[in-house]
Subunit: 249 residues, 2 copies
Amino acid sequence: MSSNESQEAEFLASYDPAEFPPVALTVDLVVFAVANRELHVALVERGGQPFLGRMALPGGFVGPDEDALAAAHRELEEETGLDLSRHRVVVEQLATYSAPDRDPRMRVVSVAHLVLLGGDGVNLPELQAGSDAAKAQWQPVHELESRQLAFDHADILAAGLERLAGKMEYTTIATALVQEEFTLSALRDVYTAVWQAELPAGNFTRKMRASLTPTGRKVQAVGAPASLFIKGSEWITPPMVRPVVTAAG
Amino acid sequence: MSSNESQEAEFLASYDPAEFPPVALTVDLVVFAVANRELHVALVERGGQPFLGRMALPGGFVGPDEDALAAAHRELEEETGLDLSRHRVVVEQLATYSAPDRDPRMRVVSVAHLVLLGGDGVNLPELQAGSDAAKAQWQPVHELESRQLAFDHADILAAGLERLAGKMEYTTIATALVQEEFTLSALRDVYTAVWQAELPAGNFTRKMRASLTPTGRKVQAVGAPASLFIKGSEWITPPMVRPVVTAAG
DNA sequence: TGAATAGTGTCTATTAGACATTATCTC
DNA sequence: GAGATAATGTCTAATAGACACTATTCA
């Protein structure tokens, strides 16, 4: 039976780091939250070259004893100052970006993650810049001139937005962007924010209700009191149909 | 204006390879093909430790001048001997596996890819083992005891299968597993192979036809001649419904 | 002629979409 | 009461699912 040492020796004989040099591994985070019926993304201002002063997605290196998902959680706290024990957060892997020249300094491969923060639809969680970044702030996604972003972060952001918008068709992922208990109006606001389209309230209620569980509680604002729900099924079957993007006038 | 050298110097001051050591980057390939109404996956037998003699997904290291997708194409040819100029092939990124201990020898992060090979539904492309592997062969996916696979390749295979099965609900990705021109029966066989469920032929025709383009040609086998189609739309709206997995009797 | 397959037709139950109506609350 | 919102009801067109039926070919 091979010892770990002899395994490694055998392996290193066939693995030539000169032919296949190791790469620096990072995570980049597309952090979404909804306020005022607008989808916002968390951005940090770069404090160093390259792209000094440009906005970028928060992110950082993956440590030797963590996987990419753990690094995403850690960097989320470090780079944005968010206290994850005080916010509902859902993180899922998005895609990996590995173009050889995506970072001009060295080979950096980044595992992008989609991060969804729950909220009340009014207030955004407060961001505090980490050590690397000059500042951290929320930006409305649909007003963003994505050419401003550093590296290939415009591509990553677009992929994150498309993943979110797409999964909202056939899953209840939108519930990650509201509070644990939510009204159908709050959930519909998420759809409005992400899809940039108004959905008729009556039909939305009828269709979405099948995937939700009523708590029995109600909440009072202006108008009739609204029932509170929590996420029921993970799936919406058959899916919601995403209206075609309204050509901006 | 910063030169590339000073950028790199500044960067290296803030990047400590001891804290965040670089990782070896690989690709692993979930290569699917359909024959005899069964979904097959290409596996190679490991020729070295660890997992000597066990079956594994084909894969290999990402070179310094290629991204993961390019490495996937290259390794597909090198590890399985497939001549990509002679087969229809679709490759898409699946997910990245980065558990620190997923390879006992060293830190290896792998970008898994889903690879779909077109075929006539009868013959599988011939595989030839590359230099690293003892042999390469097709295995019926649904008969595979996935515990046999090396590393975390059972997880990767399961993810590939689920991605394929899921995307077949709402996209025409199944057309990647048949020839460019295909009959509705051939396409239905793909659904049968992947979903492990028979779909009624009449309703399948009616629904799928909306996403396909007829070529006008027909092909003759046993029974009435069948019309040939090519892929039309990328999307199937509303989606096909995947029957619940039939509890094996 | 019989077997096999392709493709269409038919019927029903479901439901999405449009929109009206009723209910409940605040100011 | 006016205004606003929630939730339900109504009507129609579309269609999925089940399944019968016809058409076309080979053996």
